[in-house]
């Protein structure tokens, strides 16, 4: 039925966090299916769903109107952007509602001022330009006046409407909603229309939808209940749920029938929609201006001077032609695209970090840039290593603007905050913020939240959720239905459990919360909140409401300052070496041809080293046996999902060892692939293939690479590879020509590793760090382990595994000690000056936090501790702190028996009345055995220097013929074996089709266990959750790599051990 047009102007998505239960994409798709031509998004104080809605709208052919619902003096109203200025004001109001005044922030204040987003009427009036105002729902201030049974309320409503009209003029409409909830609502609608007509203000129909169907309604009700801290039943009885399901997106026809006879409100919705415009380009903030010294005409001139100064430092004077040529090529493109300031900003932050002694190094494609190398941002010489600049920056454009370059710089992970603070100070806080991460619901959160809302016990919800942690909510609902629900005692036939499963599935894809991105800093020449709304975090940082993908879609450049544990490890180790030897090594001056280092790497003794420590890396590295730094560069990139899925690992390894000859499908491929044994491993190689065989320009090749790198764009990838295939076949300049079969085969190879390929420059950057850590492990083991333990959490292994590895390297490891040790691990001299001992730090003692540290630090400033009582009383330790410290052996300098030390420590902790001192009494607990001591160590520090927990089980296992990791070395391939160990790592890589890899640890080393996918489910409890596992299977030996292919799995009974495996799923 034809009728007046209707546009829903007030839709909410799940970015209303807790008050919307549909993703932007689902909302837009549903709107398209219902026949809407446009839709307005008014999430509550949030524009975070806008980019996704706009992109989805473009794809579905639906026009999107940008808006937000804001609380104005505590009452909701909605504002829609009509123009670019309007969008700017909308963003500014959302920012102000979140962070208040945003022109004079300081870090400490920001952290304190979180709360309900709200703006004042004056703020709205100040930012009214370009906005269209809607007066809000039944809880809005205008409607509230009308609902109040007060003789003056109507006059107040008229006065307020007049105020709004004075500010917004004809950009104002009285919002009227009708959800058929009762007579009062209908009466209110009538009163609002009458008020609007008397005040000569248009009125507009809005439906304010929060969901699209029954399933999303149920999720909305759960979210509402959780928001109030109630179960869904209690929420129903408390009247906080919507009384009916009318808050869904209606069809235009439905609205026409509902408002028959009063079509003016529908027509007004279409008029408003016509008056509103939105463009993603409006969201792009102006690039920051770098303060250039006098004497330079512009950014580009100053960058040129800086680049050449750096180049002479790097390469000496005069520069070679290829060096000068590359610099000129890059400078010209950078200047043309307007990114000179961007490079200067990154150069400046790296200079700051170095001035503070913070190790840093550029990673990623930035290492393809010679200018970045000259500015000191990256450490790899692109000229010397033939790296392709176009991988980093090309002329391709997004929406008419230059695509932002991507410079990622790693800083020591625990000092990154200093760098962020510098950026905030240098560029002013209102001009800077960090990209957010939108955490979407995964199975565990969905299960926990849904079960909590349905009133199930927390223990039950936790128990189920931890068995579903690798699933999305929809898969989790299926798994629960098939297995876990019945096991947990849930009756699948009851409506409640059916609804529970439906709700869990309904959480699929919904955003749950916002967090801070690990890298992306955004800078602007003007206050940023007027382009990208800003929120504050508990840590005093500020984040924009958009994630990395949103910012890419808008084209906002990010300054990626990432934290890297490997750098923290190296800096700490260097500090310790300098203290012990008086000489400080420099990372880029370590000899790169050290045979002992390559020997350590080649035998897979790489636990704790950067990037080459995983079990997959170790299994590969013992075959490839690196001998040069470039071998490590390849190794870093080789054990990645792309090359693994493309089945490149085995041929590379064979060719690397000379067991087969490299084969080049076309002679022009030899220069491109020669260094990787004829196999494309790096993204640059894929680009070079496209340029050489397909005749692509650098920019076209980079566009292909970007398509390959985006996992969400599979159809685009297939189309792009088909184009490449065609261009290769049609490239007449090639001799010989590429045959269709060859082109197909090459495109298949590229497709296989497309999503996960590494840039070579990135691999170079990581290889430098990997080599440095391996070098330290060989030559400075004490300092190496000190570095990694003090930088922990980082890497692949737990402190317990690292300490056992240190002991296997004959490093003397000592317990935490309050007399000799410190908060962090320390180096202590031994009889052999070249082999110092490692003392474990106090911070590894359970229950020790920042407050404990501060107390101990202050107490020891006054002098060394002299007794247990001295420590306890001077540091004001609590009973719990005393207990854990003494059980960890930290009082061993004064009392060797740990329980007696606790007895004395607890006495001292309570001895607070000088006139009535607590009596010293003797205490003789039964003596502790070695196994008990090891268990106690694990309980208090998570590791033990007294031995491995497997020692306690070994006699029993030996009687049953169970072998240890040492025995395994001599076992032949395919031989049956039974092994056992403590599970230290569990891995279920996405490339392994459900196979689980367990790393068992025993008193001698490690055992790799493969759990075939078909055996995972029958043995789920054991392979996923047991601490000690006994495995019956057969030895799989390939060269130096040994694994056990498991057939039977059993959990070993042992005493309680506090230990958690590191699980990577």
């Amino acid at each position: 039925m034809a009728g007046p047009p209707y546009v829903e102007l007030r839709a909410h998505t799940a970015f209303s966090f807790g008050d919307g239960s549909v993703t932007p994409e689902a909302l837009v798709a549903h709107a398209a299916a219902l026949g809407h031509g446009a839709i307005g998004i008014t999430d509550t104080a949030d524009l975070g769903g806008l980019v996704r809605t706009a992109v989805a709208g473009r794809e579905q052919g639906i026009r999107v109107i940008a808006g937000a619902e804001l609380h104005v003096d505590g009452r909701p109203a909605a504002f829609l952007a009509r123009t670019e200025e309007g969008y700017r004001n909308l963003a500014a109001l959302v920012t102000e509602s979140r962070v208040g005044a945003w022109t004079s922030w300081d870090k400490a204040r920001v952290g304190r001022e979180r709360g309900q987003p709200n703006v004042t009427w004056q703020q709205v009036a100040d930012h009214n330009a370009g906005l269209h105002a809607l007066t809000g729902p039944a809880s809005g201030s205008l409607a509230t006046f009308l609902r109040t049974r007060d003789p003056f309320s109507r006059a107040r409503a008229e006065r307020q409407l007049a105020e709004w009209r004075d500010v917004f003029g004809d950009r104002l409409a009285v919002e009227v909603q009708l959800h058929h909830v009762g007579g009062e609502e209908a009466a209110l609608a009538g009163a609002l229309i009458e008020l609007a007509q008397r005040g000569k203000v248009p009125w507009v129909v809005a439906h304010d939808p929060r969901y699209i169907d029954e399933s999303s309604r149920l999720v909305h009700e759960l979210l509402t209940a959780l928001r109030y801290g109630l179960t869904i039943d209690a929420a129903l009885h408390a009247g906080v749920l919507h009384p009916n399901g009318e808050w869904r997106l209606p069809t235009p026809e439905e609205m026409r029938r509902r408002w028959m006879g009063r079509e003016a409100g529908l027509e007004e919705s279409a008029c408003i929609a016509d008056a509103c415009r939105f463009d993603l380009a409006w969201m792009r903030p102006p690039l920051p201006k770098f303060d250039i010294p006098a004497g330079f005409a512009d950014d580009a001139a100053y960058l040129r001077a800086q680049a050449y100064e750096g180049a002479r430092t790097r390469w000496g004077d005069p520069l070679a032609d290829d060096e000068r040529g590359q610099i000129e090529h890059e400078l010209a493109l950078i200047a043309q695209l307007g990114f000179s300031g961007f490079f200067l900003v990154m150069g400046d932050v790296v200079r700051f970090a170095r001035s503070r002694g913070i190790l840093c190094q550029g990673r990623g494609s930035a290492a393809n840039s010679t200018v970045a190398y000259c500015l000191g941002i990256t450490a790899v010489d692109p000229v010397k290593n033939g790296l392709l600049f176009e991988r980093f920056l090309s002329e391709m454009r997004v929406d008419g603007k230059a695509e932002a370059p991507d410079i990622d710089v790693d800083f020591e992970h625990d000092r990154r905050e200093e760098v962020l603070d510098y950026m905030y100070d240098r560029y002013r806080r209102p001009h800077a913020a960090i990209a957010c991460i939108v955490q979407t619901y995964r199975a565990p959160n969905a299960v926990l939240d849904a079960m909590r809302a349905f009133g199930y016990p927390v223990e039950m919800a936790t128990s189920i959720s931890k068995r579903l942690h690798r699933y999305d909510p929809q898969d989790a609902a299926v798994h629960m239905q098939q297995r876990h629900a019945a096991k947990a005692g849930l009756n699948l036939d009851t409506p409640r459990v059916k609804a529970l499963l439906k709700a869990i599935a309904g959480f699929e894809g919904l955003p749950r919360l916002r967090a801070t991105h690990v890298g992306g800093f955004i800078l602007s020449a003007a206050p940023l909140g007027a382009w990208l709304p800003i929120e504050q975090t508990n840590m005093g940082r500020t984040i924009v409401q958009f994630d990395k993908d949103d910012l890419d879609a808008i084209g906002v450049p990010k300054f990626d300052m990432l934290g890297l544990g490997g750098l923290a490890l190296i800096r700490r180790a260097f500090d310790a070496i300098e203290v012990r030897t008086g000489k400080r090594p420099a990372m880029y001056e370590l000899p790169t041809d050290d045979k002992e280092t390559y020997a350590l790497v080649s035998r897979g003794d790489t636990v704790g080293t950067f990037q080459i420590e995983s079990r997959a890396q170790i299994s590969s590295i013992v075959h490839t046996r690196p001998e040069h730094l470039y071998d490590i560069v390849v190794q870093v990139a080789l054990i990645r999902p792309g090359p693994i899925q493309a089945k490149f690992v085995r041929p590379y390894t064979r060719r690397r060892r000379g067991q087969e000859e490299p084969v080049y499908a076309h002679e022009r491929l030899k220069p491109i692939l020669e260094r990787t044994q004829g196999i494309p491993i790096f993204q640059e190689q894929a680009m070079a293939v496209a340029m050489t065989l397909g005749g692509y320009t650098g920019a076209e090749a980079d566009e292909l690479r970007r398509t390959m790198g985006n996992i969400r764009k599979a159809p685009r990838l297939i189309a792009a590879l088909e184009r490449l295939r065609t261009r290769m076949i049609e490239n007449k300049s090639l001799v010989p020509r590429v045959t269709p079969e060859l082109a197909t085969s090459m495109c298949e190879d590229l497709k296989s590793f497309a999503n996960y390929g590494f840039p070579e420059s990135h691999a170079w950057s990581f290889a430098l760090i990997a080599y440095a850590t391996a070098y330290l492990k060989v030559h400075y083991p004490a300092e190496f382990f000190l570095g990694i333990l003090n930088a922990w959490p980082m890497g692949f292994y737990s402190p317990a595994t690292l300490i056992h590895d240190a002991k296997r390297h004959e490093l003397e490891v000592r317990t935490p000690c309050l007399k000799a040790g410190d908060w962090e691990c320390t180096i202590e001299p031994t009889a052999d000056p070249d082999r110092p001992a490692l003392r474990v730090g106090w911070r590894f003692v359970r229950g020790m936090g920042e407050r404990s540290l501060e107390k101990l630090r202050v107490a020891r400033t006054a002098g060394a501790f002299e007794s247990i009582a001295d420590v306890v009383t001077r540091a004001h330790l609590t009973r719990a702190e005393v207990t854990f410290l003494s059980l960890a052996g930290a009082f061993q300098a004064w009392e060797g028996e740990r329980r007696r030390a606790t007895w004395e420590g607890l006495r001292a902790a309570s001895d607070i009345l000088p006139l009535a001192p607590a009596r010293r009494t003797s205490h003789d607990p039964p003596p502790m055995g070695k196994h008990e001591l090891i268990a106690l160590d694990y309980y208090t520090t998570g590791s033990s220097i007294h031995g491995h927990p497997m020692l306690a089980l070994r006699p029993r296992l030996q009687e049953r013929g169970v072998k240890d990791s040492r025995d395994l070395e001599s076992f032949a391939n395919r031989r049956g074996v039974t092994v056992a160990g403590l599970v230290v790592v569990r891995q279920r890589p996405s490339t392994a089709n459900g196979t689980i890899f367990l790393l068992l640890e025993d008193e001698h080393g490690f055992i790799n266990v493969i759990v075939p996918s078909k055996l995972v489910e029958p043995n789920e409890e054991v392979v996923k959750h047991a601490q000690f596992v006994l495995v019956r299977g057969q030895v799989e030996r390939e060269g130096a790599a040994v694994s056990v292919l498991g057939r039977e799995f059993r959990a070993l009974r042992s005493g309680a051990l506090v230990h958690h495996s590191r699980d990577f799923h």
Partner: protein, 458 residues
């Protein structure tokens, strides 16, 4: 052997029915009380039976009989412990190997000493400290000196130490009823001191508002109210006020307080006030209406309630109202203490609650009378906009023409609750006879026969 402890591992919170506790069922308690003089429900789901006064030979028979009663009523895997002390009886029931474990008189301490400390369920903090000093069994803890325990492990540990020595303070408390906490409210201030009676009355008025609200929520009135003033000289002055009859009327109490303040002379300025209802009684007049309109006499009602309590136990219930979208579910009758708790658990943010709450049916000037149950009727309708409206309906008395109908007022929800799921469209209709009736269509049913008469206004 004065305590019988009954316990089953199955007496835990049901997974599909949170909060449902098996032993707490009243009919079960009644059956046990037919054999034992006193029964109590303890922590961890145990049932206590009092064997005091039974000859030693009959105590075992008592325990055995209680086990039989429980077994007959479907309780599975129940075990019993019989001992002089509650702690020994509890451990015997929970850890004993037999269905009935008897701890011989005088051996409770030795019996308890054998158990690991976990059997006494110490709190985690204390457990850590005990682990730290290497104490693993009740016997090891019992062997320590009390002073050492108190100094090193804190006052809480002394209770555990006493239990480990079978010196159980619960001996006196298990069967003693706990008096309910009476409504009270207090305010302390440290920045200044009050001397002005008017300002003091202002503070007390605010406190009285809360106390009276609590009394009303409990269906009570205060017979006696105590005012306690904290003074700057660190003394406390108490003033007891009595009303002519039990009341929860704030104005009455404010008047009495004002009179008292005129009379009272305090020795120093005031730094805090406590208002406590020190004696309370049920709200008699309201209960009187409950039973017989012709007996609007407090005495008669009180007698009736007393008889009911005597016959049936604690059957005093009060209405608890909520904001359920369906009127049928807005009122439930609940035990008095539970109702008081429920009132306190309502959402705390009135502004937000108001936002969420629908603008439901217009508040009627007439009183809505609900039919005992929705009555199926036949309805003729005509289409109007996006819905249909009734124009005639037929009930047992015949056809009625509807001259005006307002609606639909749609309510739907509880889609997770099986039989309680609802989806209705209500209409407020005026019949040609002038009656204002409330009809609804059950929107879950697609076919005819889905209209109901739900009530009328008068």
């Amino acid at each position: 052997m004065s305590f019988v402890c009954l316990w089953s591992p199955a007496w835990r919170t049901g997974v599909d029915s949170p909060g449902r506790d098996a032993p707490a069922r009243p009919e079960l308690a009644a059956a046990l009380l037919a054999r034992a003089p006193r029964i109590a429900i303890g922590e961890r789901g145990v049932i206590w039976a009092d064997a005091h006064g039974f000859p030693p030979t009959e105590r075992m028979a008592l325990a055995a009989d209680l086990l039989t009663i429980l077994a007959r009523r479907g309780a599975r895997d129940v075990r019993a412990g019989l001992a002089d002390t509650p702690v020994a009886a509890e451990l015997a029931a929970m850890c004993g190997r037999e269905v009935l474990t008897v701890v011989e008189p005088g051996t409770d301490r030795a019996f308890v000493a054998l158990f690991p400390l976990e059997a006494l369920d110490p709190e985690p903090r204390l457990n850590t400290l005990l682990f730290g000093i290497g104490v693993a069994t009740c016997g090891q803890l019992a062997a320590l000196e009390r002073e050492s325990v108190e100094v090193r492990l804190g006052g809480d540990a002394v209770l555990l130490w006493r239990l480990a020595r079978a010196d159980d303070p619960r001996r006196e408390g298990i069967f003693t009823p706990v008096p309910p906490e009476l409504p009270h409210a207090s305010l302390d201030w440290t920045e200044y001191a009050l001397k002005d009676p008017a300002r003091l009355l202002f503070v007390i008025n605010a406190l009285l508002e809360r106390v009276c609200a609590d009394l009303l929520a409990d269906g009570q009135g205060a017979r006696e109210l105590t005012l306690a003033f904290s003074l700057t000289d660190r003394s406390t002055h108490r003033e007891v006020l009595r009303a002519a009859r039990p009341t929860a009327n704030r104005h009455t109490w404010v008047r009495l307080v004002r009179t008292a303040l005129d009379r009272v002379r305090l020795g120093a300025a005031v730094t805090g006030v406590l208002v406590r209802a020190s004696r309370v009684a049920g709200s008699e007049a309201k209960q009187g209406d409950l039973f017989d309109r012709g007996l609007v006499s407090a005495q008669a009602t009180e007698d009736a309630v007393a008889r009911l309590i005597e016959d049936q136990g604690d059957v005093v219930v009060i209405p608890e109202n909520n904001a359920h979208p369906l009127l049928d579910f807005r009122t439930t009758w609940v035990n008095r203490p539970a109702a008081a708790k429920a009132v306190r658990e309502r959402p705390h943010n009135p502004a937000e609650a108001e936002r969420e709450r629908p603008a439901h049916s217009a508040e009627p000037q007439l009183l809505l009378q609900l039919a005992p149950a929705p009555e199926a009727i036949e309805v003729q309708t005509v289409p109007r906009r996006d819905h249909v409206v009734p124009v005639r309906y037929r009930d047992a008395a015949g056809w009625h023409d509807v001259v005006d109908a307002a609606g639909p007022d749609r309510v739907s929800g509880a889609q997770w609750d099986g039989d309680r799921t609802y989806a209705r469209e209500y209409f407020r209709c005026v019949t040609r006879e002038g009656a204002l009736v409330w009809l609804f269509r059950d929107a879950r049913k697609r076919k005819t026969g889905n209209w109901y008469f739900h009530g009328w206004w008068d």
